[in-house]
Amino acid sequence: MKQHPVSITSRFLAVWYRNWVVYLRTWKVSFLPPFLEPILYIAAFGVGFKLLIPSVKYNGLDLSYVAFIAPALVAVSIMNSSFFETTYSAFVRMYYLKTFDATMSAPVSVDEVTTGEIVWGATRSVIAATIMLAVLGVLDLVRWPYVLLILPLAALGGLGFGAVGMVFTGIVPNIDLFTLPTFLFITPMFLFSGTFFPLDTLPTWARGVAMALPLTHLSNLSREICLGFPGGMSILWSVVYLVVFAAIFFVTAVLVMRRRLVK
């Protein structure tokens, strides 16, 4: 089959717009998870763990356990929002609703459909991060105004995890198989990316594994931003990691979605 050159114009925004219109119709429901999630976690860990873990040392700071995990919860939410949007939701649009087939009878390319979906996934991450920031702000767990940098971080992380989700959407034969990447990729990262305990408590080999995971870098950056950069310039590596991660999976997503949709 002949490969078309990459064809991405601003028309991908029309694909994004479709999802935005649908989101506005259901926002009252979609907005609940990122609003309730941090409250539930903080209630559970803040109250339940308070006696077990009086404080956590992190980059010279002495933090309450809740202050330690709160930024990681934002990172997890950034990951989940885009990943689940470009897997389950996008798969439904592609496979069951045939939305993409209809879209591509208009002057919109397959690459623009892929791009629009991934950018929409990133938008969901930014929305989720915004809502969580509001909650964490009220609970006085973040430092203003640095914390606003969470929003560009959510966009970057959302693009990366949204692209990963899109790659899976391009290859899974049916929707039930999304349980595999969820169990093998999302859940282990949720637990072992420096989210619930500092990485330096781990043995060296385990720390090495954790450093290879994208969520480690996302939660690392989120924590640095929320706490006012106690770690200094070392976070630049995490930024580079996330940019490369997003770029690689974006290109892969474009290629696998072409193979899936162009027949």
């Binding site: 089959m1 078309h4 717009y17 009878s105």
Partner: protein
Amino acid sequence: MNTIPVIETENIKKVYGDLTAVDGISFRVTKGEMFGLLGPNGAGKTSTIRMLYGFSPMTAGSIRVFGLDISKDWRTIRARIGVCHQENNIDPDLTVRGNLSVFAKYFGMPRKVADERIAEILKFIGLDHRADSQVTELSGGMMRRLILARSLLNNPELIFLDEPTTGLDPQSRHLVWERLAELKKKGVTVLLTTHYMEEAAKLCDRLIIVDHGKILAEGKPKDLVEKHVGRNVIEGSPVCDGLREMVKARGLEYEDLGSRIIIYCRDDAPLFQEINHKFCKDNCILRTATLEDVFLRLTGRDLRE
């Protein structure tokens, strides 16, 4: 400029693994023509349409639409065409109007132009009273009309209609036919697929019948009937050996379906009288030959799926 055909395909092929869906099809459609693409399920109709609007890349051959190369200028071409899909791919998460306004964005239509065009098109297709309904509340027929409306949104010069009237009630079907006639008057070119031969005969200026990815016949509906079937058809039952021998002996064109026989004939009344009285005990009919006879003769009576 008018001499450039709206669609020109040359020997197009589409191969999926071991399956050759389209096996060297060439045809031309001129401006303002209503062109039929007929064939049994799996004949290669939808594959052909998908190549024509640049959705599927061709395995071989070339397609020019408005004189432009589909593999290079697909975006320009798609801006000037409308596609009415066979499958229902209306967006159930949006209202009737929402479906159209999202689609207008795909064409880059400014908001105001889109709003006016949507009002116009909903009226045209008889859905203006349901503009704010959820799509899930619509009947199957209204859904088909909405897909048709969507394909007309950008004022296309060429529309692909893939079984536009399947599942429509007679009222809706007549409305669709009327609207197609109006579009034709405006000079819009239409490529139509349908399983209703009566519809094809009524609407199409010219048509092709395809099977197994190849063109079996091409021409005006009337000419095709005349050429492949004749003027009249005698259908008789039950079929006795005497009748079989008689049609064989006279060298008539016929099809023996076991309990029923179909005889294609160019002269009519005397043969019919004879068969009716002699063999079929007045259980015989004489009728005008139709495009359906042509279709079944060329593509056979075996089930495809």
